[in-house]
Amino acid sequence: MILTSEQELFRASLAGFLSQKLPLAALRTLRSLPLETAYDKGTWRQLAALGVTSMTVPATLGGAEFGWLGMGAVAQEMGRRLSATPLLSSVVLAQGALIQCASPAQIDRYLPALLNGDEVWTVAFEERAHFAPDCVLTTMTARGLKGGKCMVLDGAAADRVLISARKQSGDFGLFLVDAQAPGITQTPARLMDGRQYVTFEFADVPESSGQWLAGGSAERDWAQVLNNATVILAAEMLGSARELCERTVEYLKEREQFDAKIGSFQALQHRAAHMYTELELSQAAVDAALVSFDSGQGDQYALVSAAKALANDCFQLISDEAVQMHGGMGVTDELDIGLFLKRSRVCNRLLGDAHWHRLRYAERLGF
């Protein structure tokens, strides 16, 4: 990642903050807390004050205009420490949807509280076990919203929820509602990586209890938000993969068997070197997608799918190799390696697995 000197300065100071406030130990604490706890809200307010909520927001809306490369660097640092924050759910997805899909009046009304961290939101857009953003069965009827959503990230901590749904007209829209609105049933749960999600059921949630985001073309603009979120997730994944690759290489230099450092064995050297080449290759793909968001050039759908598919393959490979190369210790809960392994499988599935993105890429390129 080639950052500007300002972005680099920001990345370094954020890294310092995260190491202090949200190290891996914080994730261990989180996973033993009640199912409703998604992240530490106090720390999130401090992160908002540092500027992580305003990175990609235009200056005209009170943002920092730090660019998607800068946002990618933030996600990467969080990935290195598996920091549990609502960066993806509240900032990239919900706040992104507000900015892309809402009317100017709605943006004025709601954006400030998101930027300063007073409110956190999430988006409920998944209805199936496999990522299928085009499948939207949740529908607004005359009596209210009917349907359900699964895998709503950080849902239990969200003050408001954006729900992808069909309007009474049949058009696609994003319905903004208070998470406690009548007719909404939430079932909180925890993923194997320690992160929080909820399943929603909607039984006649009155249309009057919320509002539709009323910007331009909701369907197209929401697709843009999903693209952005996919690449930020990929950047976070590569941060985790890089951390894991470095930890594994360090272990190969320390661990001795047969009176030698195991890192001197060629069989392991080649696998470690291969991991590293895959990491840098995937990084190039993710960077290219981030750059295309900033420049507005290139086929973003193709670049996004390449970034996520490569990040998935890479994180899968490196997390498997990290466990294997740490030997018996790799499968103990005492070591952090397993936390990364579990996170990798969650991330690989979120926002489209490698196969989903290969197919979309093929479609995009006309084959």
């Binding site: 230099k253 030698a260 050297q269 070197a273 590293y276 080449t277 840098e280 290969r358 197919l359 084959f367």
Partner: protein, 403 residues
Amino acid sequence: MNESDTQDSFRREVKSWLEANCPLSQRQPIVQREQIWGGRRRHFYSNDARLWFEAARDRGFTAPQWPVAYGGGGLSFEEARILREEMQAMGCRPPLYDQGLWMLGPALLAFGTEAQKQQHLPAICRGEVRWAQGYSEPAAGSDLANLQTKAEGEGDSFTVNGTKIWTTKADDADWIFCLVRTDDSGPKQQGISFLLIDLASPGVSIAPIPLISGDSDFCQTFFDDVRVPKENLVGELHGGWAVAKEVLRHERQLMASFESMAEKPKADIVELANQHLDIQASGAISNANIRSRLATYLMRDSAVKQLGERIARQHEVQAGDPALPLLMKYLSTREVQQKNEIILEILGAQGLSLNASDNSELYDSRVKQWAFDKTLTIAGGTSEIQLNIIAKRALGLPSGRSS
């Protein structure tokens, strides 16, 4: 990217020069038989090819970054990049192919004497002499330092005995640059010297090696009491390993860029799939396995190019991660082979004959290309050697007993 006014005016100058001097026929994708190689067997496939070669030669563009005094173009790194970009944008063919140009020249510029530079560099730029590389031996492949070809000093000349293998097109070459053993008393890498040998010398014999592609791109070259003047020693006596490493560095860059030298648009492989496979009404390839692997290949191929660009940009600002260039040969050669495998599957029964002539990128048939490209992960240091180097230099893993 912002370019200075000077760069901008250089770009305009280069563009109009190319427009005026590169015939339209020389802006078509190159095929192997139309490549212009230097030396005594030099021939031009067409008059346009000759015109393009002569124009580039006279402007110094066969070796853009070499000093003008030695026949080069005297361009800076930046200017050479601009020239390369403009040539690629216009589809201009490389005006000259030669291992002297790619590998020996850079080593002579770094290690050669003034007399050596004057004798050899202009002849390379003008395409008058074609060079072969004499590194590997039957018992010295990946373990290159194990080489046994001997050069013994007697008065003002060396006497060379031994054999070199995988000498690319030595049967068409005029000279060969060789690694020879001048001392076997110490560690293997310390008794090696770098010699330039005229292939017309008495005692040299050359046998082409038939390959799986059906062609003979490589030869075995034998030296039987060949006398070589001492002024043909490059670098220090016994100090040839340093020169060899410089050549290898350029060779690996070359291998990594092998495909882009004659690159056809990426759409090519998709077009091929559309011609040969069942396609659904949606436009999707029916064979889900090929479709998925083709997507994977194209994604990874783009990422390899993006990584290459990042390395080039980092090189410019001098903030480069020195480990990154090591990855390129390993990654890019794998992807070329992956592409060839997919192409063969796409062609089905038509991908099983070596003689089909379908004007592929470098070779007369895609099947020959597939067979020949098996060399890419072997020549210039095998992929396994690349991984050894990455493990040690980029990851800092300790040396082991077996590597």
